[in-house]
Amino acid sequence: MSSTSLPPGLQIEKVDERIMTLNVGPQHPGSGHMRIIVKIDGDYIVSADPDPGYVHRGEEKMAEYRNYILNIPHLERPVIHDSCNVLYPYCLGAEELLGLEVPERAKYLRVIASELNRCVYIQYWLAIYGIFLGHSTMFMWPAGDRELLIDMLEKMTGARVTHSYFVPGGIRNDVPANFEDMLLKRVNYFEKRIKEYAAVFAGKLSREDAIRLGTTGSTLRASGVNFDLRVKEPYDAYGELDVNVPVLKEGDSYARSKIPWLDMLESCNIIRQAVQKMPKSGSVRVKLKPNPKGGNDEVYKRVESGRGSLGCYIVSRNTPEPYRLKLSVGSFRNLICLPYLLKGEKLGNMPAVYWSLNYWPVEADR
C-alpha cells in the first residue's frame, strides 16, 4: 500500500538517519498525561509534535445526555484542582439560557471560591514545575502550602478538590460562620509564604506570535499583552473589585512561570477586597425548577481561569439538555505554541518550556 492511499494522518514519513525520534510520554516523568513526539538532532529538537488525547473522555458528548444540573459534576472533572473556575463559564451560560439572576452575596462568594481555587491550581502547577526542573523541594513546598487553602475550600464546599460548588443560579450552600476571619488569617500567612518562593529558562515567545497563535492566560500575559478577562470583561462581582493584572514583557519561560506566581499575590488581594465588600448575609441561590429547559438560543461565556480564558459555548434547542456544549479551554489553546516553541530548542529545555505553557493535559483533552 503506497503512502498516498492511506487516510490522512497515517502516512509514513521518511526521516534522516541522524535524527532520533523520542516518544516523551505518556509514561514519562516529564510529560504528564500526554505524548510529545520529539525528533532530535544531537541535543537540538528538530520538531516536536504533541499528541494529546490520553484522557479524552468525551465530556462534550456526555453533556448532550444530561440536563443542566446533572452536567455540573462531570464538567468540573477536567481540572479538578481548579474546579470552580472550570465550572464558572458553564454556570454563567446556563444562567443566561435559563434566565436566572444571581444574588449579590453569591457573586462575591463565587469570586472568593474562584480566587482560592486559582491559588490552589497555581500551587499544584508550581509543584509539578519543580519536578520538571529536577528540584524536589520546589515540589514539596507548594504542595504543602496548598493544603491550607484546600482546608478553606473544604470548609466552604465540603470537598477537597471536586467542589461542585457553583450551580446555575448561585452557589450550593453558604459558608460556615467565622469563615471570613479564618480565611483572612490563612490568606495573610499564605501571602507571606508565597514571597519565600523564588526558579533557568528559555523558549521565547514574542508578542506578535503570542497574538497570532491565539494563546491565552499566563502565556499571553508573559509576552506583554495586557489581557485578562477579569478586567476586560468583568463577570459577576469582578466589576466592583480592583484587579491589577501582572504583565511581563520578556516572553520567556521564566516570565511565563513568574506570572502565575504574581497572580497568586493578586488573588490574595482580591480575596481580601471581596471579603470586605461582601454583603454579610443574604440568599446565595435562587430556586431552580426541576429539569429546567433552555430556550432556542446559544451563548458563549468566558472567564479567566488559572490557565487563561475559558470559554463555554452552549447551544440550546428547547430541551432540558444542551444541544451542543463546547469548552474552549486555555490548555488546548496554549498547546499550539508547543511545536513552535520547542523547535530549535535544546532537549534539556523541553520540560521547562512545556510546563511553562501552563498546560493541564486533562483539560486539553476534555
Binding site: 434566565g99 432556542n296 459555548y313 451542543r324 488546548f332
Partner: protein, 206 residues
C-alpha cells in the same frame, strides 16, 4: 425571591431567521417577573456598528443572526468564509480565534462550524466575541476526509485555529481543505466508528 426564574417562552423565530428580527430584542417580549422587572435590553450601539460594517461590506453574502451585549453572530456560506475572515482580521482587527466548535444538524443535513473570534490588539474589542458560522453539507454515511463534508481552512487567516480544526475534523468529520495536517488529535488511533459528536452516534446505554 418569589418567582425568579423566567419561563423560557416558546419563541417563534429560530436563529436561522433573517437579521430583520434580531433575537436580542426577545427578552422584552417575555413577561417580567413580579419582584424584579427585567430591564428592556437595547441593542448595544457599538456591537450594532460592527455588525453593520460587516453587512455593508458583504451585502447579501453574510447574515447577521443576532447582536447581543458583547456578542455578535455572523453566518456566511462556505465559499465566502475565507474572504469574510480576512476582512474581519484586516479591517475589524479580530486577531485570533478562541474556539472552533462544530454543531451537527441532522434535520437540515448540515454541519455548522462556529469560529469564535476575539481580539487582543484592539482594546475596544477586548470584551467582544464575534461568532462566525458557516455550514458544510452532511452525509448519512460519513467517510471523513473523502466525502463532501468539506470546508476551506481558516488556518492561513487565523493561525490559532490549527488544533481546533484538527479536533473538529475528528469529532465531526469536517475535512478542512488547505489545512497542513488533518491528523487525528484526541481520539484513539484505531477509531473506526462514526465521528463521535455527530447526533447519530449514540453513547452506549443512551
Amino acid at each position: 425571591m418569589s418567582e425568579p426564574e423566567t419561563n423560557p417562552v416558546e419563541q417563534p423565530a429560530s436563529p436561522a431567521t433573517p437579521s430583520s428580527t434580531p433575537p436580542a430584542a426577545k427578552p422584552a417580549t417575555t413577561p417580567p417577573p413580579a419582584a424584579k422587572p427585567v430591564p428592556v435590553k437595547e441593542i448595544p450601539p457599538f456591537e450594532k456598528s460592527i455588525a453593520d460594517k460587516v453587512e455593508a461590506e458583504f451585502s447579501g453574502k453574510v447574515k447577521v443572526e443576532f447582536v447581543k451585549e458583547n456578542r455578535i453572530r455572523i453566518k456566511t456560506s462556505k465559499e465566502d468564509v475565507v474572504q469574510v475572515a480576512k476582512f474581519l482580521r484586516d479591517e475589524m482587527h479580530y486577531d485570533h480565534a478562541e474556539s472552533v466548535s462544530g454543531v451537527d444538524y441532522p434535520a437540515e443535513k448540515e454541519i455548522e462550524v462556529v469560529y469564535h473570534l476575539g481580539s487582543y490588539t484592539d482594546p475596544q474589542l477586548a470584551n467582544q466575541v464575534l461568532a462566525l458560522a458557516t455550514r458544510a453539507p452532511r452525509e448519512e454515511n460519513p467517510n471523513p476526509g473523502f466525502d463532501s463534508t468539506r470546508l476551506p481552512s481558516l488556518r492561513d487567516v487565523f493561525y490559532s485555529v490549527e488544533f481546533h480544526e484538527r479536533e473538529c475534523f475528528e469529532m465531526l468529520g469536517v475535512f478542512f481543505e488547505g489545512h497542513p495536517d488533518n491528523r487525528r488529535l484526541l481520539l484513539p488511533e484505531d477509531w473506526a466508528d462514526l465521528p463521535p459528536l455527530r447526533k447519530d452516534f449514540r453513547n452506549k446505554g443512551r
